[in-house]
Amino acid sequence: MTDDQTGVDAELARDSHINPDSLFAAETAAELSPVPAKRRRRNLFFWAAVVWVAVIFLAALFADLLPLPPYAEAIGPPRVGPFQQFGHGMILGTDPFGRSNLSRVVYGARVSMIIGVVAAAVGLLVGGAVGLLSGYLKGWTDRTSSFVVDTLLAFPPLVMLLTITAVLQPKVSTILIGLSILVIPTFVRLERAAAMSWSERPFVLAARSYGTKDFRIAVRHILPNSVLTLITYVPTVISAMIVAEGSLSFLGLGLPSPTPSWGGMIAEGKSSLRLAPSVVFVPAAVVFLTVLSFNLIGEYVRARFDKRTKR
């Protein structure tokens, strides 16, 4: 590099403050660009999914306040199809015992939402914390947690759930324990991989070089960067938990009657599947829409997150 070159560059250096105008100009240009049709359609699906999940959540939360008939009592003849009668709570028909499908779906939403959200939250917190520690600290912490996680993953999930529900009483808390144990390893693996790759970044090395302690590096530098990956995974886990609860109830290991759950409703209707498919169809449709909605939301969040990380 010659001397006069350096001189010119020094002059350039003096005007190199960031220019706020140019930054804003870039932002407005991006805002004005038309939204592609494909993305708009995707947004529509996303919002429909959000509305459906919100309806299910609110119904589960305020079930007691809604003008619904009691879910444990017969309100009409058994196996009435949906949209046949429009009396009090009859709109979705009745189950094999003549109980209101609407009431049972709404109260069943409670079980599904509690199980889905709590199991996913426990998985996120416990799995995230263990994964963060083993991915950042490595060494024996990582070896121990990896061993436990591998063992849990090697266990057939259904066998584990059957064992837990057979040994303990079939209560919501029992199912929650089983399902949480089931999802923790996935979160550990996700967070561990993310924490490992983030802890190689120079900014982590820089933080260590100015004397940051391990705990602060993990919490301030690695967690905020890696946790997004985990959060995008939560809706998918909730939907998987709803299906898992359904499977357990279908096998007769769910909550005891008359407590309604979606899986239990499908199980109760399965003997009359040929005679009155609507009894199975109503809860199955609700499960289908809810799981689909959670997956759509998860997919949308992930796509948004990917775009942000790519920038």
Binding site: M1, Q5, T6, D9, A10, L12, A13, R14, S16, H17, I18, P20, L23, R201, P202, F203, L205, A206, A207, R208, S209, Y210, G211, T212, K213, R216, R220, H221, P224, N225, R311
Partner: protein, 331 residues
């Protein structure tokens, strides 16, 4: 590993590296890569030492070994009379704030989830220095010192800045604790040529203003030429030549240094490259380095002796040290 000669070492250095070895395990076989094989170097207070060598020669590893990130396998690193390699983690932490580092990739040197204000004040937060107002004032001060406008910069995140601006932010974070030594690990290699000069000038300016001592690592001799007082050339984990910057450029003694200098493009269409002295081949694997002189496999002057006997560092001209059995002629 035996010492590779110490004629280039001085007694009054601020940072002193003696026979440092850094090994990394390879796979599960128990084999080890010698990234740095017995290097001795020293830096005087206020001096800028340039450390040059091609990719993979161990220069970045050496820079990190000075910071004890990770601690070297063997050898000694003293800073201002304190032996760093044997310090406990707690005592080492106290020394660390006196030596700071700037990295090659400006963007991944900054936490993408934090705002620039947070990034730059983080070292102060870690050490719980001053009140929030005092910290903020310090941040404004260093951001101004590195040529950024604190008002606009502080509330923004790293991805809103260019590579050169990110490197300025890194430098600001580096300066905020008032360090004595800065290790620059290829700080301009990832930047455009025009921005490179700006950052080099900024480093020079900061060095004057804050009385810094610098180790400047680069793979490009042209980059370190102006900024360094003294240059050490590294090849495959060893130092092969040490000399003041101008001396090294005008009369290199080691065939490797000569090869590096010839590789600098000359902006003259009539210039004819000298093919005879050109280096050929690739850097040998540090898993099994050549016997004797490590450069002999690519050296145009290599003879039998080079394979059997490792050349030691010796002083051939005043303050010009070389580890070579058959150095180039001095005029």
């Amino acid at each position: 590993m035996s010492s590779s000669g110490a004629s280039h070492l001085r007694n009054d250095a601020l940072v002193s590296v003696r026979d440092v070895v850094v090994e990394f395990p390879v796979g599960r076989s128990g084999a080890k890569v010698h990234a740095v094989s017995g290097v001795s170097l020293d830096i005087r207070k206020g001096e800028t030492l340039g450390l040059v060598g091609e990719s993979g020669c161990g220069k970045s590893t050496l820079g990190r070994a000075i910071l004890q990130l990770p601690r070297p396998t063997n050898g000694s690193v003293t800073f201002d009379g304190t032996e760093l390699t044997s310090l406990s983690d707690r005592d080492l932490r106290l020394q660390r704030r006196r030596i700071q580092m700037i990295f090659q990739d400006p963007i991944s040197s900054l936490n993408p989830r934090q705002r620039v204000g947070q990034i730059v004040s983080d070292p102060l937060d870690v050490w719980k220095e001053g009140t929030p107002e005092e910290r903020r004032a310090r941040v404004v001060e260093v951001l101004e010192a590195v040529g950024l406008d604190p008002e606009t910069a502080m509330e923004r995140r790293p991805h809103e800045f260019s590579g050169g601006q990110c490197q300025r932010i890194s430098i600001a974070r580096c300066l905020i604790l008032g360090p004595e030594v800065i290790i620059c690990d290829e700080p301009v290699s990832a930047l455009d040529v025009s921005v490179q000069a700006q950052i080099l000038n900024l480093l020079e300016e900061m060095k004057e203003r804050f009385n810094l001592t610098m180790l400047f690592i680069a793979h490009d001799l042209a980059v370190v030429r102006n900024i360094s007082d003294r240059i050490a050339v590294m090849y495959l984990g060893k130092i092969c030549e040490v000399a003041p910057s101008s001396v090294l450029h005008e009369s290199p003694l080691h065939p490797y240094t000569d090869g590096l200098l010839r590789a600098i493009p000359v902006p003259d269409p009539m210039h004819v490259a000298d093919d005879d002295a050109e280096m050929t081949g690739e850097l040998p694997s540090p898993l099994s380095p050549p016997s004797g002189c490590r450069f002999r496999t690519r050296c145009p002057r290599a003879q039998e002796r080079c394979a059997t006997e490792e050349p030691l560092m010796r002083e051939l001209a005043p303050d010009h040290h070389v580890a070579c059995h058959f150095p180039l002629e001095t005029e």
